[in-house]
Each structure stands twice: as structure tokens, then as C-alpha cells.
């Protein structure tokens, strides 16, 4: 085993002890992946800092801990989840709430929206739409290096399913609210599958919230299929607390002429690792991968991006920015792979960071592997302080130094936020980021956790 063997053993045992229980509530097709995924997890283990892709992130802080595991949903737990209301004003979205990785047991497990769009439980979808599931489930999430992807496949049994049929331009976004709530420290995993067929358009917002002040560990996998000429936008808003760890793996598979964007907004969390894999699997595909992270105290945020240019004439843009305060740390690892046939590739990457203290630390690593000769690729990374000239410029107009610093940080962050296409969400993010920079807690008003 290449990972951390002692810690990994805990999770191997967890599987052995619970696999019957997990399988009993899961669809057969989802179960059919478990034993081989377990094999691969056994080989790879929980990643350690010796793994190149996790060089700057110490997962042990959260993985080496005894959690209650949430394998069987309990109906009474969902009462609180049902009461949860997102407070983003004017956000007109179809909402889905997941509690501890499970779709609520109370209402219909699958809902049909206008134009033949389906949203609901992935486990239910595996029973009702076997053709769709068999075509897409487990087809995009794969990793030769990250055991956590396989740990999810081995043990996750529910999550969100979205199906947008061919040609459907679905203007109203779907919002998934991931809630974790427990009276004990808790480990949970969920698995999402989003299918956006040819010529369709779809936008999804995933919000992560922790509802109780316990230690939480979430390991989530999302697979996205974006068909030919389809458009897909994903915004992820991570706003938990310092005792919550979120590890996400998002695999976006694109066919030709498709356009996607992925924006990770990390406002709060103890340890956050987002791995985003973009596969440009057809000519003229385009992807925009962005991220913003604001950290303080002991928080750690790690964004790992992998863009795979497999066909000619595709474009990718990466823009990741961070403001790091106190003794918080961050990492960015942006890989661009241009395969031999992917001529006329345009691939850009930018990672800019502001460190507000001497103790904050940022590791940034571009990784370009270019096997075609007619390409344009660029990358740039900066780690620094606020621009003194800009600060004086604002002060010279009568703006107090403290306020001027906030304006500069806000402007820095806004460059990422402006990529959010859903206007009420964009405004809300501007607002949340401003509150966060002012040191006011940015949790949504409906959050019950009074975490300081």
C-alpha cells in the first residue's frame, strides 16, 4: 500500500464490517462496482503527503479519527433537513437537500421537472433508469493515484442524480444543499451523477453546510457527462466550520463543442480538498475552471485541477485565487495534459494569492505536460501582499486604510466571483465574501451552528 497504511486499515475494516449493510440498501448496479473498487482502495490507501498529488495536504488530521459512520438513513433525521431553507434572496432554483449524503426518505425520491428533466436520489435512479445509469455511472470517476475515489465507489450508496435530456435548455438552476448534521463526530460519503445530453443546457449549484458543531469528514464524488454542444455550469459553495473536512472529486467529461464552467467558492472549512478533473473528449470543447478560497486560523484549502486535452482545438482556462490570513495554509496544483493529437490547444492557468500575515503559507505548483507541438499554453502564479501603490491610491481619495485594504481584497476576489452566471448567487457571493473579509461570519442566516 502506498498511502498511510495504519490509517487506511481503519477504512478497510469499516468496509469489511459494513459492506453487507451498505449493499442491502443499494441498487444492484451500484453494488456491482464495490468489490473491485475496494481492491483498488486496498492498494492505494488513504493518500499521504508522500503522494505527489497530496504533497501539501495532511489528510491524517481528519482521517485518523474515530467517527460514527452514516450508512443507514434514519427518517427522523430528515425533519431538520426539510426545514433547511437557503437564504439566498431571489435565487430561483429547484432545490434538493442531501442529509449526511442521503436523499430524504420523506418525499418522492425522484422528481420530474418541466421538459423531462429528472432530479433525485441516485440510488432510486439506478432502479428506475438502469439504461442511463449503466451508460454513465462509474464511467468517468477513475484515478490511478487517489484511493479516496475508490473508497467512495466502494461504500457510497446515495447522492444526487440529474438527467437533462437531449436539446433541453433548462434555464432554472438546480441547487443541491449538502447538509451534515450529527450529535457525534461523523464520516459520510455520497455520490452524484449529472447527465447533460447533447445540445442541452444546465446549471447546478452545490452548497455545503454543517449544521452541528461536531467533527465531520465528507468524501464525495461527482460525475458529470456533458454531451455534444451542451452547456454546463457548476458552482460549488463551501461554507462549513473549522471542524469540518470536505474532500471532493469532480469528474467532468465533455464531448465535442461543449462548454463548461466549474467554480469552487471556498469560504469556510477546516480542511478542504477539491480535485476537479476536466476531460475534453472531443474537438472544440471549452472549459473554465475557477476557484476562490478565503482562509484564516488553522484552515487548509487545497485545489487540485487536472485538465486533459485529448482532442484538437479545445480551450481551457484555470483561474484560482486565494486570500490567506492568520496561520492558514493553501495549495494549488494545476495540471494541464496535452495529448499528442491535441493540436491547436489553448490552455491557460493563473493562480494568485495574497498572504495577509507572515505565518500564512501557500504552495502553488503548475504542472504542464505537453505532447503536441502546435499549442498555446501559459501559466502564472503569484504569492504576495497587497499592492502598496493601489492602497495609497485609495487612501489618497479619503478611504481609510482598513477599508482600502478590504476593497482591494474584495476586488481581487471579485475577479473569480464575476464568472458566476446566476446573478442572485453572484450578488450573494459578493456579499458573503465582503462579510468574510470584514471578519463577520459569512454563514447563511438559516444555519443553526453558532460557530465562532
Amino acid at each position: 500500500m502506498s498511502g498511510n497504511s495504519e490509517v487506511s486499515e481503519k477504512y478497510l475494516n469499516l468496509y469489511r464490517e459494513n459492506i453487507d449493510k451498505i449493499s442491502s440498501i443499494s441498487a444492484p448496479y451500484i453494488n456491482s462496482f464495490r468489490s473491485s473498487a475496494f481492491e483498488r482502495f486496498s492498494k492505494l490507501g488513504i493518500p499521504s503527503k508522500k503522494d505527489e498529488a497530496y504533497k501539501y495536504t495532511n489528510l491524517n488530521i481528519f482521517f485518523d479519527h474515530d467517527y460514527r459512520s452514516y450508512f443507514l438513513p434514519v427518517a427522523s433525521d430528515f425533519i431538520k433537513a426539510e426545514e433547511f431553507r437557503c437564504d439566498v434572496a431571489d435565487l430561483d432554483a429547484h432545490g434538493i437537500v442531501l442529509l449526511n449524503g442521503f436523499y430524504p426518505t420523506i418525499n418522492d425520491k425522484l422528481r420530474q421537472l418541466p421538459s423531462g428533466v429528472w432530479i433525485g436520489s441516485i440510488n432510486e435512479a439506478a432502479l428506475r433508469f438502469p439504461d442511463l445509469i449503466e451508460k454513465h455511472y462509474g464511467k468517468y470517476a477513475d484515478s490511478d493515484t487517489d484511493g479516496l475515489v475508490h473508497l467512495n465507489t466502494a461504500m457510497a450508496s446515495d447522492g444526487v442524480f440529474v438527467y437533462v435530456p437531449k436539446g433541453v435548455r433548462f434555464n432554472k438552476p438546480v441547487q443541491i444543499v449538502n447538509l451534515v448534521q450529527s450529535e457525534e463526530d461523523m464520516f459520510n460519503q455520497h455520490r452524484n451523477l449529472i447527465i447533460v445530453e447533447k445540445d442541452a443546457e444546465f446549471s447546478i449549484i452545490i452548497c455545503d453546510h454543517a449544521l452541528s458543531p461536531k467533527k465531520f469528514l465528507t468524501n464525495a464524488v461527482t460525475e458529470v457527462y456533458v454531451g455534444e454542444s451542451a452547456h454546463f455550469d457548476l458552482v460549488r459553495v463551501q461554507n462549513e466550520h473549522n471542524a469540518a473536512c470536505k474532500v471532493t472529486h469532480t469528474f467532468i467529461h465533455q464531448e465535442k463543442n461543449s462548454i463548461t464552467s466549474s467554480i469552487n467558492m471556498t469560504l469556510h472549512g477546516g480542511l478542504i480538498r477539491n480535485s476537479t478533473y476536466h476531460f475534453l473528449g472531443g474537438e472544440n470543447a471549452e472549459t473554465n475552471s475557477c476557484g476562490l478560497y478565503l482562509t484564516d486560523k488553522w484552515q487548509h484549502v487545497d485545489n487540485f485541477v487536472n485538465v486533459d486535452h485529448a482532442f484538437p482545438n479545445c480551450t481551457s482556462n484555470q483561474l484560482f485565487k486565494g486570500v490567506l490570513d492568520d496561520m492558514s495554509t493553501g495549495a494549488f496544483n494545476g495540471r494541464i495534459l496535452v495529448r499528442p493529437d491535441a493540436q491547436k490547444t489553448l490552455a491557460y492557468q493563473k493562480n494568485n494569492n495574497i498572504l495577509l500575515t507572515d505565518d500564512a503559507k501557500m504552495d502553488t505548483k503548475p504542472q504542464l505536460e505537453i505532447h503536441a507541438d502546435d499549442v498555446k499554453c501559459s501559466h502564472g502564479a503569484t504569492v504576495g501582499q497587497l499592492d502598496g501603490d493601489a492602497l495609497f491610491y485609495l487612501q489618497s481619495r479619503g478611504i481609510d486604510k482598513h477599508e482600502a485594504k478590504l476593497m482591494l481584497m474584495f476586488g481581487f476576489a471579485h475577479e473569480v466571483i464575476q464568472n458566476i452566471k446566476v446573478e442572485p448567487l453572484r450578488e450573494r457571493m459578493d456579499n458573503l465574501v465582503m462579510q468574510r473579509l470584514r471578519g463577520e461570519l459569512s454563514r447563511c442566516a438559516s444555519c443553526v451552528v453558532k460557530c465562532g
Binding site: F392, S396, R397, M407, L408, E415
Partner: protein, 254 residues
């Protein structure tokens, strides 16, 4: 309004201003001219509170207060404005937000309520017209992607918004074509009132064709070596700075 007495300033141990005295009364326009490296921009920096310059001697009194003890933002709120030689680009900060914050901070300082959104936008519109700035510029991030001329016009627009008592324009004319120069000069002339003053720092006389100064000073080697009326600017234009340099050297010898 402004009294500078025997001001001596050094930067990184090097003496830049070597005893400057200057007195500006309400309603006056002073031009400060001089060759490169004479200390013109350093003087502007000291007056607006840029920290890199160290005042070693002398006093600066503004409206009866010790200016050197005030923070840059307080100087601005008390009515000092600097038109930057090289305006700064600030991506992500909109002009509207920037000006709204600046105007309202100043109002707060003077015990006034913040402007309502509609009053503020009305004010923006009026000032844009006054200084003939393209209204699209105000919808963008501060100076981001602006041409050199647009940046300078934007300085004049900000000056119009903030209505300073004492405006210091640091080589606002440099890099401007004749049309932009005219717009900048017209902006200044329209904002000119009986009780506000300007210090126009410039290298060339041509700006002074449009902005008529009451007093012209020549700053050379850290000292004001000549002070006269507007005709001095014309003389400098015709003869260059060499004769001044010679005069100074002769005086030193004498």
C-alpha cells in the same frame, strides 16, 4: 491655505528637497515647473502623505493644521486631492463603488449622511458631463485597461467628484494628446472657484496655455529658485532651463 516653510525631505538617506517654502492662498493657481529630478513629484508625495519620503526639517501647515501629522485619508477628507502622474489600475474594484465609498467617507467625516443611491448616480452623471469623460469608463474597474489619456481624464473626474479645496496635479499633462490636454484643462477651469486652489506640477508650458497660473515657481535641485508671474512659464518655454541652472550656480559662487 497652505504654508510650506523650509521643507527638507530625503528618500533612503538621499536629500531630495533642500528647504522649500511655498504659500498658497485660497483661489490661487500655482504652477511648479522644473527639470527632471528636481523634486517636483517628491513634493506632491509629501503633501499627500506617501510614506517613503522622510521629512527631516520644516513645517507644512494646511488650513491651520499640521499637515504632516495627518494620515493620507484624513488629508483627502480635509480637501487635498492628488492627481497622479501614473494612476493605478485596480482590477475588480468598480469606479462606482470606489467613488461612492470615497464620497461617503468624506461626507461622514464632515458629519453628513451618505448620499442616496439615486443622488449619487445623479452626481456621477453631472460630473461626467462636466469633465467630458466617456460614461462607459465609470462602469469599469478603476483604470483597468484605460488608455493613458483615459486615466488622466479619470483623475480629473475623481477630482470633480471629491470637490477638493487644494488639488495637486502631478504632471497630469504628460503623455496627453492635444484633445485630452484640452479636456483636462477645461475640467480644471470649470472646477476653479474663488475659494479653492491648485498646484499644477508640470514639465512643459503647454498646459499653462489652458490653465492660467497666478504664480509660477521653478523647482531645481530641491529648491524653489525662481518665482514670478505667468510670463515666467513662457520664458522657460522659449529658453529652456539652462539659464536658470546657470543663475543658480552663479548665485552659489557669488
Amino acid at each position: 491655505m497652505l504654508d510650506i516653510n523650509n521643507l527638507k525631505v530625503s528618500i533612503a538617506g538621499k536629500s531630495i528637497l533642500k528647504g522649500v517654502s511655498l504659500h498658497v492662498k485660497p483661489g490661487e493657481i500655482h504652477a511648479i515647473m522644473g527639470p527632471n529630478g528636481s523634486g517636483k513629484s517628491t513634493l506632491a508625495s509629501v503633501l499627500t502623505g506617501r510614506e517613503f519620503a522622510e521629512v527631516t526639517e520644516g513645517t507644512v501647515t494646511y488650513m491651520g493644521n499640521n499637515l504632516l501629522e495627518m494620515s493620507p485619508e484624513d488629508r483627502a477628507k480635509e480637501g487635498i486631492f492628488l492627481g497622479f502622474q501614473y494612476p493605478i489600475e485596480i482590477p475588480g474594484v468598480s469606479m462606482v463603488n470606489f467613488m461612492k465609498t470615497a464620497v461617503n467617507e468624506k461626507r461622514k467625516h464632515h458629519g453628513l449622511d451618505p448620499l442616496s443611491a439615486s443622488d449619487f448616480l445623479k452626481m456621477m452623471r453631472e460630473k461626467k458631463e462636466l469633465v467630458e469623460i466617456d460614461s462607459k469608463l465609470a462602469n469599469r474597474s478603476v483604470n483597468e485597461g484605460f488608455s493613458g489619456g483615459e486615466k488622466k481624464k479619470n483623475e480629473i473626474f475623481q477630482m470633480a467628484m471629491l470637490e477638493p479645496k487644494l488639488a495637486i496635479l502631478d504632471e497630469t499633462d504628460s503623455g496627453l494628446d492635444i484633445d485630452a490636454l484640452r479636456i483636462v484643462a477645461n475640467g480644471v477651469n470649470k472646477l476653479k472657484k474663488a475659494d479653492n486652489s491648485f498646484i499644477v506640477i508640470t514639465h512643459y508650458q503647454r498646459l499653462l496655455d489652458h490653465i492660467i497660473p497666478d504664480v509660477v515657481h521653478v523647482l531645481y535641485d530641491g529648491r524653489i529658485v525662481k518665482t514670478a508671474g505667468k510670463e515666467l512659464a513662457l520664458e522657460l518655454e522659449a529658453k529652456g532651463y539652462d539659464w536658470i541652472k546657470k543663475e543658480v550656480e552663479n548665485n552659489v559662487i557669488a
